[in-house]
């Protein structure tokens, strides 16, 4: 599988206040291929965003397609940081096609 669409990209801006969270999911919907997050969190506080404030992006290992109960990696937000990850599994057809 090579290439990304040049005509379809979507994005939204979102603000998580205290208590805000997003439960575990895999983003596998439609033709999504790569997820991205560009953090616009406070950059002018000393030391930047603190891990203890939460809000980290947490990744889960999957065994036979089923995610483990606890995350294997937490990436805390930082001002102007871009996180990207490939969406797996890709919609099956497109993998077969190439």
């Amino acid at each position: 599988m090579k290439g990304l669409s040049g005509i379809k990209t979507d994005m939204s801006i979102n603000s998580y206040e205290k208590g805000g969270h997003l439960l575990t999911h895999d983003d596998v919907i439609g033709t999504r291929c790569v997820s991205f997050i560009l953090y616009l969190v406070k950059g002018d506080v000393e030391g930047g965003w603190k891990d203890s404030w939460g809000g980290g992006l947490r990744l889960y290992k999957a065994v036979e397609g089923v995610p483990e109960n606890e995350p294997c990696l937490t990436i805390p937000p930082q001002w102007n940081q871009m996180s990207m990850f490939g969406i797996r599994p890709l919609p099956f057809l497109y993998v077969n096609g190439r």
């Binding site: 599988m1 290439g3 990304l4 990209t9 979507d10 939204s12 979102n14 603000s15 998580y16 206040e17 205290k18 208590g19 805000g20 969270h21 997003l22 439960l23 575990t24 999911h25 895999d26 983003d27 596998v28 919907i29 439609g30 033709t31 999504r32 291929c33 997820s35 991205f36 997050i37 560009l38 953090y39 616009l40 506080v45 939460g54 809000g55 980290g56 992006l57 947490r58 990744l59 889960y60 290992k61 397609g65 089923v66 995610p67 109960n69 990696l73 937000p77 940081q81 990207m84 990850f85 490939g86 969406i87 797996r88 890709l90 919609p91 099956f92 057809l93 497109y94 077969n96 190439r98």
Partner: protein, 370 residues
């Protein structure tokens, strides 16, 4: 720039713990080539749906290991003996054993399909259970508990015997089956029970659908010890008494999460799951929403398509949500077409959900604190 690829793309966003700084971000997705673009290949929906259904099977096998339905012997004897009543009165608040009240419950159940019974266990049992669970709540031990998953469906701790009083012994007793019959008019044919602990800052269930055509009887005995704690008075100028009597806590305002919700089936089953649905004011489809509380027993007759979930418990909560959850298959109506088949039929698994439904619900509910 950080590029991460752990092989699969399951992820979540940890709760934000600070009220000082919002977690502001732009997020989105790049897509594979669309029709008309170089590299486009047409979708193969058959392969896709096969793979999804095998994943569903894997998940439902795990679900069965956690709690599988136990068939009950057939019976037509629903008359209480003295022993039955003596047994029940050791556990259940005597109010709910008096014939008048039982009759009222039956009527309410017939009309509303929902019964909520506060102060369900006797004061003696409730008191000792509260002291035990409060200790567990402040310093949980992993002993005797297992963790339910997978996290894109649910996460909580569970076991099959909530000590020191194993209430599941009450629920599985033949006298309780008779009580259920008198309180609801329903004859149960198989059952399963689970003691659950939703840890703060961790646990939840996503909305799952009751997929079988036959309605299912369900109950939750809510045993959240910290829900009894009054909110500490802090407002100046208001007497402590006034604040205490309001009985409003993070459990009742939604701030702590941990509430259980039944939702009417979604009208737009074929809606594109990638499109966020805006909840319409006054039409959120909520059939029942119960806060995490102490010693309340809720009975619900759940129809096909009705969704249910337990909201993520915030790390700000005073403790976890504790409960005992039960499900019963019920005997079909006498005038039903296959009266004889009703009891032999395996109760269908109620928690097998459509992948799309799960995703759709996630998109709708996750991240929204209230």
């Amino acid at each position: 720039m950080v590029a991460v690829q752990p092989g699969q793309s399951f992820h979540d966003v940890e709760e934000v713990y600070t009220s000082e700084h919002p977690r502001l971000a732009i997020s989105g997705w790049f897509h594979i080539p669309q029709e008309g673009e170089p590299g486009y290949s047409p979708p193969d929906t058959e392969t896709e749906s096969k793979a999804l259904s095998s994943l569903e099977q894997l998940t439902s096998i795990k679900e069965d290991k956690m709690w599988s339905f136990r068939p009950l012997p057939t019976t037509e004897d629903y008359d209480f003996t003295e022993d039955d009543l003596a047994f029940l009165s050791k556990w259940i608040n005597e109010v709910y054993l008096t014939p008048d009240v039982v009759e009222q419950m039956h009527e309410a159940m017939t009309e509303e399909s929902i019964l909520e019974l506060p102060d369900f266990l006797t004061p003696a049992i409730a008191k000792s259970l509260h002291s035990h669970l409060s200790k567990q709540d402040s310093s949980p031990t992993d002993e005797d508990w297992q963790v339910a998953g997978p996290p894109h469906k649910q996460r909580f701790r569970y076991n099959h015997a909530l000590q020191p009083h194993n209430i599941i012994d009450l629920f599985t007793h033949p006298a309780f089956r008779k009580w259920i019959y008198h309180a609801t008019g329903l004859e149960i044919t198989s059952e399963r029970h689970l003691a659950r602990h939703f840890r703060k800052g961790r646990d939840y269930t996503l909305a799952t659908e009751h997929t079988s055509l036959a309605p299912q009887l369900e109950a939750t005995l809510n045993l959240t010890p910290s829900s009894l704690r009054p909110k500490p008075p802090k407002a100046v100028g208001i007497s402590a008494k006034a604040v205490f009597s309001a009985k409003e806590t993070g459990w009742t305002t939604g701030e702590f999460g941990g509430y259980e919700v039944y939702l009417a089936p979604s009208a737009e089953e074929d809606a594109d799951p990638a499109v966020y649905k805006a909840a319409e004011e006054g039409d959120d489809g909520v059939l029942l929403s119960s806060d995490a509380c102490w010693n309340k027993f809720s009975l619900v007759l759940r129809d096909k398509g009705v969704l249910k979930f337990v909201k993520y418990v915030s790390r700000a909560a005073w403790g976890g949500r504790w409960d005992i959850t039960s499900e019963w298959a019920i005997k079909e109506d006498e005038d039903g077409d296959d009266e004889n088949g009703a009891e032999e039929k395996d109760p269908e698994k109620p928690n097998v959900e459509e992948e799309e439904t799960a995703l759709e619900e996630e998109e709708e509910w996750m991240g929204i604190p209230s």
